[in-house]
Structures are given as structure tokens and as C-alpha cells.
């Protein structure tokens, strides 16, 4: 007993350093644990690097080479020159040539092109006669950022480029009129563009996290061992874990869209039923991806980090924050692999452009493909044993 008593005061005395000693012990422990968690460690490096690269290289707020279509009602040298001049501004890149108004409207509605130029029949002759005919440039203005700068550059640049071609020598007098038509969002309100995009962004974030934690939670709480010892198959576990959240996501989507319509005055021009069906598809796709993450990671922290890793490029590369068409090709390919990219096109098209199923075929199929891919990976990754 006396020995213990004699030790006590010296411990007491050293307690001036106690704060540092204990803090150091804690700090050391945290470092060791951090080093053991390889995935978290990798994320510490990956997240900032990825963000920097995406912001630095992929994002362009004054997008160029925007996909455009041309409706050629006549084939004339002047028409060709105008198109060439537009391409020379570097804002436009003519990817499609159509011959009917329906095709022209379809391309704009499905989001395959952002601009459409119509060269009317008898255009060249009218210019020669000095009739000042109209050249129609229709823009998809759902994203005001993407459309704005290109439209602004249109007038003066085309004219300058045409000077030597027409030999008018009289710059202020335009030989024809450029009539721009900002479709779907004529007031260039960014709210109209952002609200539908937010539906997808919010759903991505919440849905991913719901299921990303689901399998790791079972493992961390120790319930996985008894679950695996019972007669249940990986697909059954997956459906059981995804389906409740489809309902949750549906309620969430309804809430966001209702607020968008009621408070922000965003219209729903298209079919509400189609919007509901495709939103459900998007919700399920995200839940499947989240579930796939949870079959890959080892703990809940890693699950959260992996969700972040997926969420960040979703925001940056989907066309939500920055114009999709303005990104370099490699970034566009990355973007095509994200469900949010396709859903943002779908939701903007249905709400703002009144698009139909036929317009949205590609994006719908892409969402289904991504969902099936995620589910397949999840089911094959799901460990039926504790090996």
C-alpha cells in the first residue's frame, strides 16, 4: 500500500504535462488508425486532385464548339459562307444537317444540339436583291450560360467574316437580318435552369448515401454473419435494401419538384407521368450505385468518402453547374457515365421543353444501362461468405 501511495504524488506532479501527454497519445493513435485505413488515405489524396483537375481542365464557363444543327432550305455559296463564318467564331460546331422542321425541332428538344440555324429558301437571291432576308438562329436557352456568349458574338463576327465575300464595303448595313430565338427560357432566367438540375443533384446525394451505408452497417454491427448464415441470396438482399428507398426518393423528388413549381414558378411543360417514371428510374440507378459502393468498401467512413468521390464529378461534369457541351471531349465521355448527366437532360427537357419519350430515348437507355451495370457489379461483389 505504501508503495502505491508514494507513486501518487509524482504522477500528480507530472500532470502539468498531462494535457500534452494525453493529447499526444490520442494523436498518435489517430495517425496509426488513419494509416491502416488505406481507402481513406487514398481519398485524402484523390478528392483534392480530382477536383483540381476537373475544375482546371474540364470546366469552361464560356463554352466553345457548341453542337449545332443546320436546316438547309437552299444550297448556296452564301449559306455555306455564313456557316463557315459561324464556325470560325469557335462558338459553333455544326454536327447535324437536317432538311425538315420536325427534325430540327427534335434535335433541339432532345438536347442533341444547342443551336439550330435555318437558311431559308431563296436566301441568297434575296440578299443580292437587297431585301434583307432573315436568318433564323434558334438557341436552347435552358442553360443561359451556354447559349448567352455564343449568341452575343453572333452579329458582329458573322458580318466581319462576310465582308470580303459580299464586297459590300458598307459594314453598318447588314445585307441580312439575324433573328435569334432563345427557346424554352426566353428570359434567360437561371432559376429555370437550376431548379430542374437541383432535383437531380439533391437526389444523387441523398440516394447514394442511403444505400452506400447499408451493407457496411450490417458488417459493422455484426448482423451480416447471421444474415449470411440464413437462406437469402445476394439479389434478394439488394432488392430488399433498395426498394424502400425508391419510395423515399420518390417522395423527395415530388417535394423538390413541387417546391420548384410552386415557389420558383418553374413550369412542367411535358408529361408529368413520364417525369415520375423517369425520376423513379434515376432514383433506382443511384440507389444501385450506392449499394455497389457498400459492397466494395470496408466501413461506413469509406462508404461516405466513396459517395463524395462520385458526387463531386456528378455536380461538375453533368452539366448541372457548367455547360456540358463546353467541356473537352474526354470530360464529356466521363460525364456520359454519370446518371446525373442523363437525368439533368431528361428533367430539363420534360419540364422546360415539353419533350416526349422519343426525344429522350438515348438518356433513358443510358440510365437503364448504368443501373443494370451497377446491380450486376453489386451482386457479383456481394460476398456470400466471410472469406
Amino acid at each position: 500500500m505504501s508503495e502505491i501511495a508514494s507513486f501518487a504524488p509524482s504522477r500528480e506532479a507530472r500532470d502539468t504535462f498531462g494535457f500534452w501527454r494525453r493529447s499526444y497519445a490520442m494523436l498518435l493513435k489517430e495517425f496509426i488508425q488513419l494509416r491502416r485505413d488505406r481507402v481513406s488515405f487514398a481519398m485524402i489524396v484523390m478528392i483534392p486532385v480530382m477536383q483540381l483537375l476537373l475544375f482546371g481542365y474540364a470546366i469552361n464557363t464560356t463554352p466553345r464548339n457548341l453542337p449545332s444543327a443546320v436546316l438547309l432550305q437552299e444550297d448556296s455559296d452564301l449559306g455555306r459562307s455564313i456557316l463557315k463564318a459561324m464556325e470560325n467564331t469557335a462558338y459553333f460546331r455544326f454536327t447535324r444537317e437536317v432538311h425538315t422542321v420536325e427534325e430540327f425541332d427534335n434535335l433541339l428538344q432532345s438536347g442533341k444540339v444547342l443551336f439550330g440555324v435555318e437558311i431559308p429558301r431563296g436566301f441568297e437571291r434575296a440578299v443580292r436583291r437587297g431585301d434583307k432576308p432573315a436568318l433564323l438562329v434558334a438557341a436552347d436557352a435552358t442553360d443561359p450560360v451556354a447559349a448567352g456568349s455564343a449568341l452575343g458574338a453572333l452579329g458582329p463576327l458573322v458580318q466581319t467574316a462576310l465582308e470580303h465575300d459580299l464586297h459590300t464595303g458598307d459594314p453598318p448595313n447588314m445585307p441580312f437580318e439575324i433573328r435569334t430565338h432563345a427557346r424554352y427560357n426566353p428570359a434567360a432566367s437561371s432559376r429555370l435552369n437550376i431548379v430542374p438540375g437541383l432535383v437531380g443533384t439533391i437526389l444523387t446525394m441523398t440516394m447514394l448515401i442511403f444505400t452506400a451505408l447499408s451493407v457496411t452497417r450490417e458488417i459493422e454491427r455484426g448482423t451480416m454473419e447471421s444474415l449470411l448464415s440464413m437462406p437469402i441470396k445476394p439479389v434478394e438482399v439488394m432488392f430488399g435494401k433498395i426498394i424502400p428507398y425508391v419510395l423515399v426518393g420518390f417522395i423527395q423528388a415530388t417535394l423538390i419538384i413541387s417546391i420548384g413549381v410552386l415557389l420558383f414558378g418553374v413550369p412542367i411543360l411535358g408529361n408529368v407521368f413520364m417525369l415520375a417514371v423517369l425520376s423513379t428510374l434515376f432514383i433506382t440507378t443511384n440507389l444501385s450505385i450506392g449499394y455497389t459502393f457498400s459492397t466494395i468498401v470496408q466501413n461506413q467512413l469509406q462508404a461516405m468518402q466513396m459517395s463524395m468521390m462520385f458526387f463531386l464529378p456528378s455536380i461538375l461534369l453533368s452539366g448541372f453547374m457548367f455547360p456540358f457541351a463546353g467541356m473537352p471531349v474526354w470530360a464529356q465521355y466521363l460525364g456520359e457515365g454519370l446518371p446525373l448527366t442523363h437525368y439533368i437532360r431528361i428533367v430539363r427537357a420534360i419540364m422546360l421543353k415539353g419533350a416526349t419519350v422519343a426525344n429522350l430515348q438515348y438518356d433513358t437507355i443510358a440510365l437503364i444501362a448504368l443501373m443494370l451495370l451497377a446491380m450486376t457489379i453489386a451482386v457479383t461483389r456481394f460476398r456470400r461468405t466471410l472469406d
Binding site: G222, T223, E225, S229, P231, I232, T385, L386, D387
Partner: protein, 314 residues
Amino acid sequence: MNNGSPSAQDIAIDVKGLTKKFGDRAVVQNLSMQVKRGSIYGFLGPNGSGKTTTIRMLCGLLTPDSGSGTCLGYDIRRDADKIKLRVGYMTQRFSLYQDLSVRENLEFVARLYGLQNPRGAARDMISRLGLSGREEQLAGELSGGWKQRLALGACTLPSPQLLLLDEPTAGVDPKARRDFWNEIHALAAEGLTVLVSTHYMDEAERCHEIAYIAYGNLLAHGTVEEVIAHSALSTWNVTGDDLNPLAAELDGKPGVDMVAPFGTSLHVCGRDQAALERTIAPYRESGKWHWQKSEPSLEDVFIDLMNRSKDNFQ
């Protein structure tokens, strides 16, 4: 120790040469065992000896690296799904859903096994477990003893033919342990085969047969009497004063393999009877202590097996 060769019908578990490695470390090595239907088979061994790994291989949760065998007549490698339908596995750590109530946990299990009337089955089990009135309590809020009972109830709910219990009574009070074992005997009497791992010697003595596993190797098996007899361990029980110095003095002397204090007495054991008796002769003659030749306890046998296996496998 094997009483002839029983027909396949009478054997619930029959495995040969099971080996499981995690990395380079063999957790279970060349393990063979047979468990008769309707018997309670005790699975003993120190921590990390491979008991849990063996049980997991038996119910298809782990794939053996080599070896083969059957569980209830189904191949443990190929027929894991069929085995899962007929085996109840109670994990070492409580693995029911803490945030579900007693009733919800049981109904979940009943539905997974496709029972006709999950609600009815859960209700019956709740009254069998004596949990009536607590069915809406969350499983996480139950005391340790009740959790164990609930876990046992959950794995017997689908009427399995074989129960695999991994240290079911660890950290449970003696009364709850006794109730638990009474329940296990009642289940065995109904024809269920039970494989139960434990650290407790009194529980081992409640088993029809026991097996001792250390460092992945099955070292002894048979009835308790057979295991004790087979150990050929000579044991002396010493009583008197100053046992601690005596223990220190005897430890490590020729013929003395183990010295262990048991309350007011000391167990001195040795495999080489002649050498042991030569060593203790002077102490016996001193008259200071009372020496009595006795049967080794099961614990003596196991500690001895463990010490010996350490020499062989570490």
C-alpha cells in the same frame, strides 16, 4: 475412441482434413470430426484455436482451402444453400438487429426461412422463450442473458436439424447459463444435433461428447471420461499451508508438467508417472502437506493438451 463406424444416417457432421488459411497462417489444420445425430457435441479450445472458423466452414460461411465433408448429408462445399436451410447458427457476437424489437427480429427470421405463418411462429417462440410481455422491446435493450435466449430462439425458429452455437454463454450469469443448457438438452431430446463451443469446463461436462482443438488441430475427442482416461495424466491433490512457495518450487522439475492452485489446494500433474513420483517423494515425506492421488480434472487435461500443442505447433 470411435465406437465402430456408424451409418451415414446417424451422422450429422462428417468432415475430413479441413484446412483453412488466412494469409500464411493456418487457422484450422487437417481437422476431421464426426458428430452423431441427436447428440450434444462440445467444442473446446483456447481463444484463436480455430473453433469459430471450423463452425463457419460447417455452415458454409467460409470455404475450406482443402478437405471435404458433409453436414446433414450435404456437401459443405457445394450444398451451402441446402445446409443453411437446415442449420441454425448462433454467432459468438449478438447478431440480431438491435434496432428491431424481439417480435420483429423473429418474424424477419421466420420470413427468410419461408415459414407458413411468420407472425404465429414468432408468437409461439416468444412464449416458449418466456419473453411474453417483452415482444415489443428492442433487442438491443435486452440484458445479456435474454439476448442469448432470443438468439437461440431465432436460430431454432425454422426447426433446424443441427444447431451450431459459438460460445453461446460467454458473459452470461450462472442462472441464465443453466437455463440455457436445460433448453439445449431439451432440444437434443427432441432429436436436434447440437455443436457448441465453449470455454467453460462445467459446460463441457454437460456434453455427450467433446472435442478439444488448439492451434487448428483436433487434439482429443470422445466422452468426458474417455478424454480424461486417454490423457494418462497423473494428478496429485495437495492441501496444507504455504502452497505458493511449494508451487514455485515444483514448477519445472522433472516429471512435473503442470502445477495449478485450486482455491485451498494445489493440482500437480505429470504425464510421466514414475518421474513425477520421484520428484514429489521428498515433499510427501516432509509431512508438511497432505498429498492425495486424484483423477485429473477436465481442465487439467485441457491445459496439459494446450501446453503440449504449443510445443508442437508454435
